[in-house]
């Protein structure tokens, strides 16, 4: 059996690794000259900077890290909040925290009504109640404090504003366990040498990776699938797609139609070297969910140097990067220099107008009969530990 995987991000590389371990012949196509997707670590002397994905919730991922002999640390992240005048403020006031406990119980009961929609590692059938923006959903259940609690988290992870993001995605990403864990401020898992190390270790176990080769055409012919690039065409028994492809690359009407509906969020990360020593993750409360404004920064100190990575929705341009730098300085930080400003397109999802109750069910149904499959963050919430669970389940069920 021969399998092609399109996209060498975490999901693609993990799938290839798991399949090759099963003795299946795998080819990975990556259109960029480098692999890893959103796992991107910059290195300078002994210091590492995570430019994309920073950490993982620890549930499942540890077994993979042990298997690959990748060392990790679980540590606490300390958070601050700033208001529009860059003064330190509370995330929630003492009075609101009192109300929060009651609201959490209520939310748990509310969400229990939608087990089909929310209790799976992959997206699935969507209950119509959950197709409204999160803010509307919470408002209709009078859960005002919960929306204040979740807004900074959702915007900082790149999922957008609570006025736009549908409740369905929000509660897939932040289920009750995750919400409780965020409130307690549980430890998060960081890879010591950066997530790129995971990608490197995976690649050392994969025999056939094609770099800078863009796939132009994917077409079922008989019981094979033809994969065409600018330079060649090859036949496979199965093709697994991990990334949003341009219009008409897949010659399959349903997939093509579905693929066209999937959007991403333009998101930028700016990394800086800064002078200050003990600064913590900081959220800019007044900007949350807004485009072209700094959302938050996280920071880490290694070998007597402090690095700071700031996040904003929008596209890399001089004006935006300068405004981010200014806002960081206004919050009392002495910036030494910018290390990089990087453009991302993250979180494949459907905007309000495109989302239908059966969207993901249609994909899943199609996959049962087609030898072209969509996997990874196209069909599952994009956290490393969840992608791991999703890919592992897919490989176990399909091969």
């Amino acid at each position: 059996m021969r399998v092609a995987i399109i996209g060498a991000g975490f999901s693609g590389m993990l799938t290839a690794y798991l399949l090759e371990k099963k003795g299946i012949e795998v080819t990975v196509y990556e259109k960029h000259e480098h692999i890893g997707g959103h796992c991107r670590t910059l290195v300078s002397k002994d210091n590492t900077i995570e430019l994309g994905t920073v950490f993982s919730f620890s549930e499942h991922i540890k077994e993979l890290l042990l298997e690959l002999d990748v060392t990790y640390t679980e540590r606490f992240t300390y958070r601050n909040f700033l208001d529009e005048d860059f003064n330190k403020v509370e995330h929630l006031s003492r009075k609101d925290v009192g109300t929060l406990t009651g609201e959490l119980n209520k939310l748990e009961q509310v969400l229990n009504k939608y087990p089909m929609s929310l209790d799976d590692v992959n997206y699935g059938p969507i209950h119509e109640d959950l197709m409204v923006p999160l803010n509307d959903f919470l408002k209709s259940h009078q859960l005002h404090i919960i929306s204040q609690l979740l807004a900074p988290q959702l915007s900082s992870f790149g999922f957008g504003s609570i006025y736009e993001l549908q409740a369905y995605y929000a509660f897939n990403i932040f289920n009750m366990d995750t919400i409780h864990s965020l409130i307690r401020g549980d430890r998060l898992l960081f890879v010591n040498k950066g997530l790129s190390e995971v990608i490197t270790k995976l690649s050392q176990n994969i025999s056939d990776i094609r770099y800078s080769i863009e796939v132009k055409n994917i077409e079922s012919i008989g019981d094979k699938v033809k994969v065409e690039t600018e330079f060649s065409s090859e036949f496979f028994d199965r093709v697994l797609i991990t990334t949003k492809l341009p219009k008409d690359v897949i010659k399959d009407e349903l997939y093509n139609q579905l693929m066209n509906k999937i959007d991403t969020n333009p998101y930028i990360t700016c990394a800086y070297e800064v002078e200050n020593k003990n600064i913590v993750t900081t959220y800019f409360k007044a900007n949350l969910g807004e485009k072209n404004k700094i959302q938050f920064f996280h920071t880490f100190r290694q070998n007597h140097k402090t690095t700071l990575v700031a996040y904003a929705y929008g596209s890399v341009n001089k004006e935006l990067v300068n405004s981010i730098t200014t806002d960081i300085e206004k919050s009392g930080i002495h910036v030494n220099h910018l290390i990089t400003a990087k453009q991302w397109y993250i979180f494949p999802h459907l905007k309000e107008k495109n989302l239908t109750p059966n969207f993901y069910r249609d994909i899943l149904d199609r996959q049962k009969v087609s030898n072209i499959c969509l996997i990874g963050s196209l069909v599952s919430k994009p956290s490393i530990s969840n992608l791991y669970a999703s890919v592992r389940q897919f490989v176990a069920q399909t091969f």
Partner: protein, 328 residues
């Protein structure tokens, strides 16, 4: 009488009534309450037979030792006599042989040893006291553990406390073992978040040598702790102090803290509460202590957190977890 027996008698008294227990074991109520009070102040250790350690009256005072050490660091090429003259200039009248003895205790009798010592600035570990007089709120932490005893339902019970010297802000957790991992948990889950929240500029951490939590691997333990501090942007000197060196003020602080904790915890312990509920009860109690318990600070009453906020001139902004019970 062995400490475990005394401990059993105290426990029995809490359950069966004190007079009956005293009669059964043929001890006076005075003795019972003396033991109880010592237990509440020192934990199990307080029940051991008191062994008076001989400490010569003319032993060089810790603050003098500390000055001598800093002079050696600055003038590694000076011998005991030159150091003695320097001490006179700063107002200490100490004999040359006393200076020599301090050097000997610290393995610094040769010039080569002293030069090596003075250039070793990276490793922030010392056996001397920090200078408590100039200490600001948040700058100096004391760390101790107290063994509360072994209980049938709870197992071994240890109090771990990191305590800010000036403000008396306390971070206390309960654990079942003495280990570096528990200390690290207290430090990263409680003490550093509190320091970040209150804007502490922590510079010193004092350990007392009784601690076997670091086991045999003292060096790797300290290196690890040093790394945690550095990664959080703190430059902290670690002071390894001997228990018998404890200044009276430190001893008082520790006794008061442990006494108020055990007075609060004992009724829960004897109600056979589960370990996780006991930990949560303690968390609530410590929160109440830090935020609302009024203590006298040079004539005025504040809670520890209020005192810090006032003396550092910062605003108090509390994070979410400060209000919420966190299991550990």
């Amino acid at each position: 009488m062995h400490r475990d027996l005394k401990f059993n008698i105290i426990t029995e008294g809490q359950k069966m009534g004190i007079s009956a227990t005293c009669e059964k074991h043929k001890i006076s109520r005075t003795i019972y309450y003396r033991w109880l009070s010592r237990y509440k102040t020192f934990g199990i250790k307080g029940l051991e037979d008191i062994e008076k350690k001989f400490s010569p009256l003319n032993k060089t005072k810790p603050e003098v030792v500390s000055t001598i050490m800093s002079l050696i660091r600055n003038h590694p090429d000076y011998g005991p006599r030159a150091i003695k003259y320097l001490l006179e200039e700063v107002g200490y009248d100490i004999s040359e042989s006393a200076v020599y003895n301090v050097m000997k205790r610290n393995h610094l009798t040769t010039k080569a040893q002293r030069i090596k010592f003075s250039t070793k600035k990276d490793k922030k570990i010392t056996r001397n006291y920090p200078c408590f007089n100039d200490m600001k709120s948040g700058e100096c932490w004391l760390f101790w553990t107290t063994h509360y005893g072994d209980y049938e339902s709870l197992g071994a019970l240890y109090e771990y406390t990191i305590f800010d010297y000036k403000s008396r802000v306390a971070c206390t957790r309960l654990y079942n073992t003495l280990s570096p991992e528990c200390f690290e948990d207290l430090l990263t889950a409680a003490a550093i978040p509190v320091a970040q929240t209150l804007g502490f500029e922590t510079k010193h951490l004092c350990f007392f040598e009784e601690h076997n939590i670091k086991g045999k691997k003292l060096d790797s333990f300290l290196t690890n702790i040093n790394g945690i501090f550095q990664n959080n942007g703190y430059e902290v000197t670690m002071h390894l102090l001997k228990e018998e060196d404890q200044l009276n003020t430190l001893q008082e602080m520790r006794k008061n803290h442990t006494h108020q904790l055990l007075s609060f915890l004992m009724p829960f312990i004897h109600k056979n509460i589960s370990f996780s509920s006991l930990k949560i009860q303690l968390q609530k109690h410590i929160r109440e202590y830090n935020l609302n318990h009024k203590i006298i600070y040079s004539g005025e009453f504040y809670s520890p957190v209020e005192y810090h906020v006032k003396s550092s001139g910062t605003d108090l902004i509390l994070p979410l977890w400060a209000y919420i019970d966190r299991t550990y």
